[in-house]
């Protein structure tokens, strides 16, 4: 069994911190503050941490570094957390995942005995036909083949997600010996350096190595064991003021132009560096043999980490399978911690020169077997015995009882971050690893990711690359720093990717439970390209996203399709490199966008408004019931906040020429004091906006646009000013002015009471504008009518917002002035049949079809969209936007439902259009709306059918223009 140790023969043990405890599936687990969840679980004798995805096989700690899926747990309600990477907190509640009813007794493990019945592509084949079965099957499959449960109710979503930014000269990713050295090289070059590591502390694998450092360029480090030397190096770095260090931070993406995305807790860091040095290191290579996924099989670095960082021996009786001296180092650490090392099984032949640690193991009398490797593991929830035999497979030679099998069969560079610049890794036969060379300009890499090994060499190469990185434009190949001299014994020959030892449980991809036999079956079925093989068998598509298995997948795919190792091309690697929570990507709720409030915001709140979000704006939806608020306007006096309108002032000697060009109307005889309805069309002739244009004083014009296009239209005007060179000034006054619409039959009487000018219909007719003042505040008046009642829009400096509102409300008391909201206005405008561009029109709406062709005067010289406007006119119309009403008591269609043409039989149905806006009119007591229908259905009085979402049909009647006051008598009175 695993246990916590208090002394070690060959090294000092770390400070474990204070004693705490947490629970795992309800069981109390004692721990120390510096434990990870995994190290605490192991020290308490828990070897079973999770269940596998498909076959629910027992899984335990593997690399103790979160590269695989084995340690996925739910922590304090947050699912899919890697236990390897989380430091324990007192009272933490940890739950296992993907097991039912319990981790120890999982009914899903039944799947494991059904292996032959769950072949690759099983889901595709089984549920392919009939079509209707898939949704049902998928639901069942998702229930059993799942990861943790997401807290969809958000009861525990208390984290605040932030986005943060950094702009270092050099960003070094990876805090092992080479990353530390690269940071030092760049710092010595006078650069600002950001050093990132995903562990709680810097130092990388050197933290758990007791190999002595010699021949290091940095002479102060020589003579110390690596774990001490790296600490000295970290201390040296601490003295540089230009260094920022971020630990517990995972870099999950490297993007164009040296943009690095990293997650630290609930923070997303966006780092833009002048140069990037990637020093992600390497992990222990996988070895694939029968039952290679059993708990108790661990990587050498995982075991070393447990001993050296957490004072835990993960087993009592160990067998070490290795191909390099590092495996003997692990064996020595185990022996020093009091574990029995039953055997070290070395894949190399006996002729090789013996390394330093192999010598020590031999001196200790531990049996060493040469030229052999692991063939099969026995035991279910914990390994009990291992068979060893020749590399070529076949029959096993020996069998050892053990509760720990350590794999030290070479290193697999973490090339993922290097290949995100769309470079695929290639097999380097000389170094026996997958490598990525030829990085984008400004991106450099160093260390074990290129097969470099040994503290002194890692340091030398790191410093060199750090210095190169101080010149972002320089190129590594100029100096060839990755070609550090290496000894023959430094190259670790790769074992066969799979040991052909019989049995059906050779797991290539442990996340998705894909075995060698299944991969072969898929290849036989024709999925013999690595990309299709991956998709069909789902290898590399699990939680680790191929980090653990991509090398094995590539090598075996090449081998099984008869290619050489050189053709072992892994699948494309894309961000994210590690799991990223959605909250981190989404940022602070609701979103990282400003909220815009009108000058009357507080007035609305005081009146108990219900707000609606219009883009970034908060606008009043309604204050009471919109259906009742309609009555306020129709029968009395209403006021609505329209400050969100776009407001653009155009002036200058060529202002009129500019308007003639920008707008499709004619403005040659546009007199001061007049206001006109205007539409805007694009060069494609499509209607995209409408508003009013007013001639305020000689040569000064005022254009209003809709809320949504407030900014966009201003930008567009700026662009046209630039390319067409008019002598004109365009001023965006959108935020400088507040605006209100005061409307209702009594609006004139009310305003006449508070303004000095003559408001009579003769002095101030419909579609005119005037300048006046209210309570000393200068105000522009526009007599227009979106609501269909007599009405005035007033614009005045925004800073008078609240006082003006309060003044109007108190002066309006005797007229029963009441505010109304946007939803109310939508009903009012539909009663009048007014369209809203982009709500009732789309990217194919010609103004002629939308019924606003009257606003286009295409006989003038040139204007935006002239050619297409003429073309639309010539072509005539196919569809038409019509105003319609329903029978009283007919149900109200939802916005967006279809208009149908029903033929002779009920089944003979064609879509002939759609409803764009639909509301119940409280004034007319029936449904009204706007709909696109075919031209031949658009005649006045024609009936057409609307199908509701519930499948019911209602009959609508086409109106001339408006359901309410079609002659516009109230408007113009």
């Amino acid at each position: 069994m695993a246990k916590r140790i208090t002394t070690h023969k060959y090294c000092e043990l770390p400070n474990l911190g204070e004693e705490i405890s947490f629970t795992f599936d309800g069981k109390r687990i004692p721990a120390y503050a510096n434990d990870s969840i995994t190290s605490a679980l192991i020290s308490s004798g828990t070897s079973l941490i999770s269940r596998s995805f498909k076959y629910h096989r027992p899984r335990g700690a593997y690399d103790v570094h979160g590269q695989g899926h084995e340690s996925l747990v739910t922590v304090d309600h947050e699912p899919n957390i890697l236990a390897d990477r989380i430091q324990v907190r007192n009272g933490m509640v940890v739950l296992s995942q993907n097991a039912w009813p319990s981790l120890e007794f999982d009914l899903g493990e039944f799947n494991d005995f059904l292996v032959p019945m769950l072949p690759n592509g099983f889901y595709y084949k089984m549920f392919h036909k009939p079509k209707w079965i898939w949704p049902i099957a998928e639901h069942q499959i998702r229930k059993v083949a799942g990861l943790g449960k997401i807290d969809t109710a958000g009861k525990n979503a208390h984290r605040r997600y932030e986005k943060r930014y950094r702009f270092p000269d050099v960003c070094v990713v990876g805090g092992g010996p080479s990353g530390l050295a690269a940071a030092q090289g760049a710092l010595d070059g006078g650069k600002q350096v950001l050093l990132i590591d995903d562990n709680p502390e810097l130092g990388g694998h050197a933290l758990h190595s007791i190999a002595p450092v010699s021949n290091c360029e940095n002479e102060k480090l020589n003579g110390f064991p690596e774990n001490k030397a790296v600490q000295r190096l970290i201390d040296e770095l601490a003295a540089y003021p230009n260094l920022e260090v971020m630990v517990n931070t995972s870099v999950f993406g490297v993007y164009e132009d040296n943009l690095i995305a990293a997650q630290c807790g609930a923070d997303l860091f966006k780092i833009r560096a002048k140069s990037v040095v990637l020093a992600p290191g390497a992990t222990d290579r996988h070895l694939i043999f029968e039952n290679n996924d059993r708990p108790g099989i661990m990587t050498a670095r995982g075991v070393e980490r447990l001993i050296m960082r957490h004072a835990v021996t993960p087993g009592e009786e160990a067998v070490v399978v290795t191909t390099h001296d590092g495996g003997f180092h692990t064996a020595l650490l185990l022996e020093g911690a009091g574990a029995k090392v039953a055997a070290v099984v070395d894949g190399r032949e006996s002729g090789n020169a013996k390394g330093e640690f192999e010598q020590k193991i031999l001196e200790l009398g531990i049996p060493v077997y040469k030229g052999l490797t692991a063939h099969a593991a026995h035991g279910r929830k914990r390994i009990e015995r291992v068979d060893i035999g020749p590399l070529s497979g076949g029959d096993a030679h020996h069998s050892f009882n053990c509760d720990l099998l350590v794999l030290a069969v070479g290193f697999k560079p973490q090339v993922n971050l290097l290949s995100m610049g769309s470079k695929r890794p290639e097999w380097d036969p000389a170094r026996q690893i997958l490598r990525v060379t030829d990085l984008p300009s400004g991106t450099f890499s160093t260390g074990e990711v290129h097969g470099c090994a040994g503290f002194a060499r890692l340091y030398a190469e790191g410093v060199k690359i750090g210095k190169v990185a101080t010149q972002p434009d320089s190129s590594v190949s100029d100096e060839n720093p990755h070609e550090t001299e290496r000894n023959a014994d430094e190259i670790i020959m790769a074992l066969p990717a799979d040991i052909e030892s019989g049995g059906k449980h050779h797991f290539i991809c442990k996340c998705m439970d894909v075995t060698r036999a299944e991969a072969r079956a898929s290849i036989d079925e024709g999925y013999d390209q690595v990309e299709t093989l991956k998709r069909y068998s789902s290898m590399g598509m699990g939680p680790c996203q191929g980090k653990a298995c991509h090398e094995a997948v590539a090598r075996l795919a090449a081998q099984d399709t008869g290619l050489s190792a050189l053709d072992a091309v892994p699948t494309t690697v894309r961000p994210p490199f590690s799991g990223v929570t959605f909250g981190v990507l989404a940022g602070r709720a609701p979103y990282l966008s400003p909220i815009r409030r009108t000058p009357f915001h507080q007035c609305h709140i005081d009146l108990g408004v219900k707000f609606l979000n219009a883009g970034q704006w908060k606008r009043p939806d309604s204050y009471t019931d919109p259906q009742k608020e309609v009555g306020v306007v129709r029968n009395g006096l209403g006021m609505i906040d329209v400050s969100t309108l776009g407001k653009i002032e155009i002036s200058g000697p060529e202002a009129i020429d500019f308007l003639q060009f920008m707008l499709p109307g004619k403005y040659a005889k546009f007199m001061v004091g007049r206001t006109r309805y205007s539409i805007m069309v694009g060069e494609d002739g499509i209607l995209f906006e409408d508003g009013t244009i007013s001639h305020i004083e000689q040569g000064r014009y005022y254009l209003t646009t809709s809320t949504g296009n407030q900014d966009a239209i201003n930008y567009l005007f700026q662009w046209w000013l630039l390319v067409e060179d008019f002598n004109v000034q365009v001023k965006n006054l959108s935020l400088a002015y507040a605006a209100l619409n005061i409307t209702g039959a009594e609006s004139r009487e009310f305003l006449q009471k508070i303004v000095e000018i003559d408001m009579s219909n003769e002095a101030f007719p419909y579609m005119h504008c005037r300048q006046a003042s209210i309570a000393g505040v200068p105000v522009s008046f526009f007599r227009i009518g979106f609501t269909g009642e007599l009405g005035y829009e007033i614009h005045f400096p925004a800073e008078y917002g609240e006082s003006m509102w309060n003044h109007l409300m108190s002066e309006g008391e005797e007229f029963a002035l009441n505010p109304f909201g946007v939803e109310t206005q939508r009903i009012l405008r539909l009663e009048k049949g007014h369209l809203i561009p982009s709500t009732d029109t789309d990217a194919l709406s010609s103004p002629y079809e939308a019924g606003v062709g009257f606003a286009i005067k295409d006989d003038k010289a040139d204007f935006i969209g002239k050619a297409f406007s003429q073309n639309f006119k010539e072509r005539g119309i196919e569809n038409k936007l019509v105003s319609y009403q329903l029978e009283p008591d007919a149900p109200i269609p939802e916005d967006g439902v279809a208009v149908l043409e029903i033929g002779k039989s009920a089944a003979d149905v064609k879509i002939a259009g759609r409803v764009t806006s639909s509301r119940l009119s409280p004034t007319l007591k029936r449904g009204v709306g706007l709909a696109w229908v075919r031209k031949d259905m658009a005649d006045l009085g024609n009936n057409f059918t609307i199908r509701l979402e519930n499948g019911r049909d209602v009959t609508a009647t086409v109106l001339d223009h408006a359901a309410y006051d079609p002659e516009g008598l109230r408007l113009k009175s």
Partner: protein, 124 residues
């Protein structure tokens, strides 16, 4: 004729383009997905997410030009693989329009300049 069960999907779709803003505004609502840095002649290098792409630089046809010339102007794009000159707008910055000569295969090498400093392009 279609089975009624499909109505809910298709009636909601209506006109299949209805989810798009009109053409001229498309350029101002574009999604930003790349990560390179663009050089604003006013502000210097900034993340491309601060900018809005409008279109390739094109010459507007004369008002009385042939309609097919207008169709080309409005609907056709060169989509060069290689260098092209484009309109960009620093929407989340100084709000200037400017031109960028960009190699579309390699975003990082580009040249930015003001429209008024550019040579008027050939009428192609």
């Amino acid at each position: 004729m279609m089975p009624l069960s499909q109505y809910n999907v298709e009636q909601k779709m209506g006109n299949s383009f209805s989810h798009l803003p009109p053409l001229d505004l498309c350029v101002l609502y574009q999604k930003k997905t790349m990560s390179f840095q663009l050089n604003c002649p006013n502000c210097g290098k900034r993340a491309v997410s601060e900018f809005t792409f409008k279109s390739e630089l094109k010459t507007r046809p004369a008002a009385d030009a042939d309609f097919s010339e207008w169709t080309d102007y409005v609907y056709f794009r060169e989509n060069n693989m290689g260098p092209q000159t484009e309109w960009w707008f620093h929407s989340s910055g100084c709000q200037s329009w400017f031109l960028v000569e960009r190699d579309t295969t390699n975003n990082t090498d580009h040249r930015s300049f003001w429209y008024n400093d550019s040579e008027q392009p050939d009428n192609n």
